[in-house]
Symmetry: C2
Subunit: 174 residues, 2 copies
């Protein structure tokens, strides 16, 4: 899938000096690139026989919702605190400085559901691991994680140990 | 399209007392409901001969990205300040108390592009009007606005005057 890299823009010093930001807006701007990414993700999710797709705010919505439409599966948004109006479960995760948290609706996942969690990029894996915990708290099974980009130097392997993970492209350094 | 209302959940007193929140997560949870909404929006955008779709963070990403995938059109995210890594244009709009602003990448719209702007819900129309201004600032033409829900009592007509608007369902009061 290294061809996909040609659609991703690398923006130096964002969000701060020394960080290289992998910008997927150029991929989204190219229907061929978006199609290639989605087709690979679709194949993976189909193989996992998922019952529903959880997408992580905000860029995970872009891939997760298009995949839910393709596969005719329910789409469940995982959102930042205070955004979901109904009853929620919440999990917190560590940031470089401090913590943040993420929520899903209590009726977003049913007991026994096979769930694939979708995001655009995996850095430390902290948010994804928190979302997986929420799915499990509601009785669901995380049958897979699918993301476009992985940054293994960060490294996410530890936090996502035990989960099957599809990553389309990786970058080896900042 | 009033059948679509059966998929939308009404949550009282969110985000604050006296406000009725129209929750589309129950629609997203139902592949039939999501399909019905997307098919109507797809037909509208096709009729407008749009060159690209702009989706507004965060719930507008859900509909906009799935539509971009269906129509094989570029998807352009309109985001809250500081989220987009490349060069941006920014517009501010009034909130009940204070102001907020919204950004798109300067290369997100090309001169002469026909653009449809997508969001889940139109309340006062302030964010949407700001995004339309950004599209026009970059030389694009807003050929339409498409949203699932409209709350005409708020009223958005004034701010969106002059734009062609598709709204699938409306609610008459809070």
């Amino acid at each position: 899938m290294d061809k996909l890299k040609t659609y991703v823009r690398s923006v130096p010093d964002f969000p701060k000096k020394g960080i290289n930001f992998y910008d997927i807006t150029t991929l989204l701007d190219n229907p061929t690139g978006f199609e290639e990414a989605l087709s690979e993700m679709e194949r993976y999710i189909r193989g996992k026989k998922a019952d529903r797709i959880v997408g992580i705010e905000a860029r995970g919505f872009i891939f997760g919702a298009a995949l839910a439409d393709r596969l005719k599966l329910p789409f469940v948004p995982a959102r930042k605190p205070g955004k979901l109006p109904y009853r929620t479960v919440s999990a917190s995760y560590d940031l470089e400085y401090g913590t943040d948290s993420i929520e899903i609706h209590t009726d977003g996942v049913k007991r026994g559901d096979k769930v694939v969690v979708v995001d655009d990029l995996i850095a430390t894996g902290g948010t994804l691991a928190a979302v997986c915990k929420l799915v499990e708290k509601l009785g669901g099974e995380v049958v897979g994680i699918s993301a476009v980009i992985g940054l293994p130097f960060l490294p996410y392997d530890h936090k996502l140990a035990g989960y099957d993970t599809q990553i389309l492209i990786t970058y080896d350094s900042e």
